[in-house]
């Protein structure tokens, strides 16, 4: 029983309510992977490469094996004997489980130790002696394809260079034509530096292999337990029905927990070797240095327009740093993720993007927060380019955007790169942001401050995302279609359990999905139990990332509930001895019920129907007992949330310190299920966006040493760096989602970095600054003010 007082109401469906899962979280009663403790459990620690690129000459493990508490020491050579030294990545590349021939990034896994406790395992790492023959590393992405660049992937047959893949989208000829006749063309190189999702909980696993039953149970920090089970089965040769993957409470994912990491495999191998459960928990440095990063795109942007501000075309070439192994999670058709939506919210005549991805001696990854499959990068590109155009034309950035928006009547709108935007009303969202901001007064204030030499900046961005992957004809993960299963059972007393294919990492699924069912069936959200994250207890589906839970599994939950309601109608008809068509579904504060049309309050409640469905009495002919439904939902299209963001900054002219004074965020994610949860997602994303814009950065020195390996080096914003958020809402439902909802998990992370950068550049206009790359640390801003803005390499 919950005893807390709700913040306002107890909706019998959609609406604001406190999160059900917080009952345990605020009491410290969550169960994260590191909280799992099994009898006889051993602990695993990973020895990692101290250098970015080296040949392994020898690994001496004798001293470590002699440690009294050590149970196993495993090297790449030992895994190679079992055919387990390499594993597939989510992009169809391979990645070393333990290095055999070479190490290819600092922090790469070289050996692991299984010992009686965490301390002994860590101590024994120091007893392993690895001889490295250090090689020249490839650190600068712009030099990765030079003729004399050292070859990183000599493990791949016939590989001669560091090329990873090429990809293009749009129409190059049509785009060249509009650029030829454009009156104005603006070009700019934009770098979206490497950042890290840095979830509060680092990655980890507990593997328990039962040698007798030949069954593996793996508790792991995974955003996609079903996909992981399938891939583990395919790679490790274990039958899939004897693998159970459990993703318990997850302390933040942000895409960091989409890949399968070598550490998970280590734990499995360790358990198989020792016959005991084995726990691996990454420490903070390991997480930052070796696990999935985000971004790392060098983008050449070009925008073409008429002198009166009509945007004609957009073109870009992207150089993508994928690190040593291509570990990005992206559907096979989209190796550059959904970067193809880079035309943003504008109705242009032509667009073209080409992309070259390369390998460097850096950690693999690339999916992370607001992975949104690379839409963060795409939105940054277009929103900076539009601002650069506005500066070139001497136009206000808002009016230029308003002039070029896709108009409400153009939806569904097919973009120049083939994306079908489902719904939108961009001018309305922008107008709402301007209203909240008091935009005209802000501009007046800015003019007045400028006259006194003060540096105030106002930055605008308008984003459109494509989330909810996705239709299985186009979208997959290593061949697995991106549809989601869902199972709903209503118990005899009218409470229910819903089993999901997606996995919450803090997004509040246990509340939102209960509300979805509650809305459809007219029962209390507290009466709906949400089961997720355990492959033995949930139907198949591809997990939570790319803001896909509500667009895909949310739709599945609603449709399952509607199926239950359809069946309930048949049973109710039998109970009331009328034809099903004569019944009318109503839902009010007391719950959901079927009444005989025109005769209110004579019907049966959903609880009475549930009891009947399981009861001893007769059911109508052809109706089975029980009140359950199961579904696999394959979305027709992605959903396209959007929003208008305005950021106000003050820059100290003497120290170049940027202070974010205000941030206005108007988000349209279609129908909102629980406003409080939506706002929470937006608040977190805005903070992350300010972090990326101002301070977050995974840098490397010329030797390939990672310079962001602790939270003293990799800075994440605190409450002191962020203002009070000023949020606004417009609602433009998605036409193809059963309740009109769109994803929102990554909206703010995607939309906010360009708003902050645009604001800082606006503030520095007095210094003639046109562009400055993130992170806009005081030093980098000051250098820009001196006319020395430089990319973050």
């Amino acid at each position: 029983m919950s005893t807390f007082v709700d913040n306002d109401q107890r909706p019998l469906g959609h609406g604001r309510m406190l999160r059900k899962e917080d009952r345990r979280f605020v009491r410290g009663r969550g169960t994260y992977v590191d909280d799992i403790s099994l009898p006889g459990m051993l602990h695993l620690a990973v020895l990692r490469s101290p250098v970015a690129h080296a040949r392994i000459v020898g690994v001496d493990t004798l001293a470590a094996e002699a440690h009294p508490k050590v149970k196993a020491v495993v090297t790449g050579a030992m895994l190679a004997e079992r055919g387990l030294a390499w594993m597939p990545t989510l992009s169809g590349d391979v990645q070393a489980v333990l290095a055999t021939d070479k190490v290819r990034f600092q922090g790469q896994e070289v050996a692991f130790v299984v010992a009686e406790d965490r301390y002994a395992a860590r101590d024994a790492l120091e007893l392993i002696d690895v001889e490295y023959d250090v090689l020249e590393p490839v650190v600068d992405v712009r030099r990765a394809l030079d003729d004399d660049a050292p070859l990183i992937r000599d493990d791949l047959e016939g590989k001669r260079d560091n090329h990873c893949f090429d990809w293009e989208t749009g129409d190059p000829a049509a785009t060249a034509a509009v650029f030829d006749r454009a009156e104005v063309v603006v070009r700019q190189e934009l770098v979206f530096p490497r950042v890290h999702p840095a979830p509060m909980e680092t990655c980890g696993a507990v593997a328990d292999y039962d040698r007798v039953e030949e069954r593996l149970t793996l508790w792991a920090t995974t955003q996609a337990p079903h996909a992981h089970r399938t891939l583990l089965s395919m790679f490790a040769g274990l039958p899939e029905h004897r693998i159970r993957v459990v993703s318990p409470d997850i302390g933040g994912g942000f895409g960091n927990k989409v890949p399968i990491y070598p550490g998970y495999v280590h734990a499995i191998v360790g358990s198989m070797l020792t016959g005991r459960p084995v726990k691996w928990t990454e420490d903070r440095t390991e997480n930052l240095v070796a696990s999935g990063f985000a971004r790392d795109y060098v983008m050449q942007g070009e925008i073409a327009a008429t002198r009166d501000g009509r945007i004609l075309g957009l073109r870009s070439h992207v150089l993508a740093d994928h690190g040593a192994f291509n570990g990005t999670a992206a559907p096979r058709k989209f190796p550059g993720g959904f970067f193809g939506v880079f035309t943003g919210s504008y109705d242009l005549e032509a667009a073209y993007c080409s992309m070259t991805a390369v390998h460097t001696n850096k950690a693999p990854g690339g999916v992370a927060y607001a992975c949104s499959f690379r839409i963060a990068e795409a939105v940054y590109l277009v929103e900076r380019m539009v601002d650069l155009l506005a500066a070139e034309l001497g136009r206000d950035p808002v009016s230029l955007r308003m002039q070029n928006f896709i108009r409400p009547e153009q939806f569904p709108y097919t973009s120049r790169t083939g994306w079908v935007y489902d719904s939108g009303d961009y001018p309305r969202a922008m107008a709402e942001a301007l209203r909240i901001a008091g935009y005209d007064e802000l501009r007046a204030e800015q003019a007045e401050r400028r006259s006194r030499g003060e540096l105030m900046g106002i930055g605008v961005s308008f984003f459109t995302e494509a989330v909810g992957a996705g239709p299985r004809k186009d979208m997959d993960m290593l061949g697995l279609g991106m549809a989601d299963g869902c199972e709903l059972r209503v118990h005899p007393t009218g409470s229910a359990v819903i089993r999901l294919a997606v996995q919450t990492q803090g997004q509040g699924h246990e509340t939102t999905f209960a509300q979805l069912v509650a809305e459809e069936l007219g029962i209390r959200p507290d009466d709906v139990d949400v089961v997720h994250g355990d492959t033995d207890n949930t139907p198949y589906g591809l997990g939570t990332y790319g803001s896909r839970s509500t667009p895909v599994s949310g739709a599945a939950a609603v449709l399952a509930a509607r199926r239950v309601r359809d069946k309930a109608r048949l049973i109710a008809a039998g109970m009331l001895e009328v034809a099903p068509e004569d019944l009318e579904w109503t839902k009010d504060d007391s719950g959901g019920r079927f009444d005989v049309r025109g005769v209110p309050d004579t019907g049966v409640t959903i609880q009475q129907i549930a009891m009947r469905a399981h009861g001893a009495g007769d059911l109508p002919a052809g109706v089975e007992g029980g009140l359950d439904a199961q579904i696999s939902y394959n979305p027709d299209n992605l959903t396209y949330p959007f929003g208008a963001y305005i950021c106000v900054v003050d820059v100290d002219p003497g120290t170049a310190v940027v202070k974010v004074r205000r941030f206005i965020a108007v988000d349209d994610c279609g129908t909102r299920i629980n406003e409080m949860i939506v706002e929470g997602q937006i608040h977190g994303g805005l903070a992350d966006g300010i972090g990326m814009a101002l301070m977050e950065f995974i840098g490397f020195d010329e030797h390939g040493n990672c310079l962001g390996g602790s939270l003293m080096d990799y800075l994440i914003p605190t409450a002191l760096e962020v203002p009070d958020w000023e949020c606004g809402t417009t609602v433009t439902p998605s036409p193809h989602h059963p309740i009109g909802a769109k994803g929102v998990g990554e909206s703010a992370t995607v939309g906010s970095p360009p708003a902050v950068v645009n604001a800082v550049v606006d503030a520095l206009a007095l210094y003639g600054v046109r562009h400055a790359d993130m992170p806009l640390t005081p030093s980098r801003v000051w250098e820009a003010m001196q006319g020395r803005a430089a990319p973050p390499f």
Binding site: D123, T281, T285, V657, L707, M712, P717, S779, Q786
Partner: protein
């Protein structure tokens, strides 16, 4: 979770006891005060002491701020938070409160100590620069008794002090002179981050209102927090003015030795050394005026 290598642990009950333990356990023993510098290094295994001698029970003996007309004495176990919250200290040396407001975060300030801060000798450490600015001296006790070392002599280089292995810092003494005040300013990339550059300034005027003495201490722009005698020499005898602060800023920028790193370029840090010197001198001067001393 990052885990340190095996260690043995002792808890000292008095200064003598602590020194005796250090003497007996030898070079591989380290004092632990707040632990906010030492423990992170141990977890990263950058520091691997064999023995820890915990001196937190000495807070009763060494946690104090005593103020007389001519001197402030602060015990080495005084915590950041106590320095931050002391109104008496803020009245004579407002620079402490300025600095403490921008050192780390409340959990660190609840435990971290003045002694630990100075003995850590991090080039970016704020309290060292505060103490340099205030011309403090350090009282060091060892098996042979007590000695006093000026801040200028206390640091030997980054992470290195004159405190010997069986010695400990027990107290910091700050002279109090009339008609003076002080201020501190720091630029960091984020709240709780170490300084990109920081400056402390202290200023005293004579009866006629001209500058009797001025001192500046910089953090994060050299191997140790640096005092700049040239600033003092240039400002003595001048009237307080924006020109004077600018002159001092130019000297400070010239005198410091910053390096480029992920916190910022050397040029920027040099610029900050000047800018923050100007700002803190001006702030100190405004405080002198507000205090009615001029």
């Amino acid at each position: 979770m990052q885990v340190p290598a095996p260690i043995e642990y002792e808890r000292a009950v008095s200064v003598e006891h602590a020194i005796g333990l250090l003497e007996r356990l030898g070079e591989e023993a380290r004092l632990i005060a707040g632990g906010h510098s030492l423990l992170p290094m141990m977890k990263l295994r950058l520091a691997n002491p064999e023995y820890l001698v915990d001196i937190n029970d000495l807070h009763a003996e060494l946690g104090y701020i005593r103020i007389t007309a001519t001197q402030v004495r602060i015990g080495a176990m005084t915590r950041h938070r106590e320095l931050l919250e002391s109104d008496e200290l803020a009245a004579v040396c407002p620079i402490f409160r300025d600095a403490e407001r921008v050192i780390a975060d409340p959990p660190v300030r609840n435990r971290g100590t003045l002694g630990g801060a100075l003995c850590q000798a991090d080039p970016s450490e704020d309290l060292s620069s505060v103490c340099t600015t205030l011309d403090a001296s350090c009282v060091i006790r060892g098996p042979e008794g007590e000695r006093t070392v000026s801040m200028d002599d206390f640091h030997l280089g980054p992470y290195e002090t004159v405190v010997g292995h069986a010695e400990m810092l027990t107290e910091v003494r700050i002279p109090v002179r009339p008609r003076g005040s002080s201020a501190y300013a720091k630029v960091d990339r984020r709240a709780g981050d170490w300084a990109v550059a920081a400056a402390g300034a202290a200023l005293w005027v004579d009866e006629r209102g001209t500058i009797a003495d001025a001192r500046v201490g910089l953090a994060a722009v050299g191997p140790n927090t640096t005092g700049i005698p040239e600033v003092s020499a240039a400002l003595r005898g001048r009237p307080p003015s924006d020109e004077a602060w600018s002159l001092a800023g130019a000297i400070a920028a010239q005198a410091c030795r910053p390096v480029t790193d992920s916190r910022g370029t050397a040029d920027y840090k040099r610029h900050l050394a000047g800018e923050l010197t100007r700002r803190t001198l001006r702030a100190a001067w405004e405080r002198v005026r507000e205090g009615g001393a001029a």
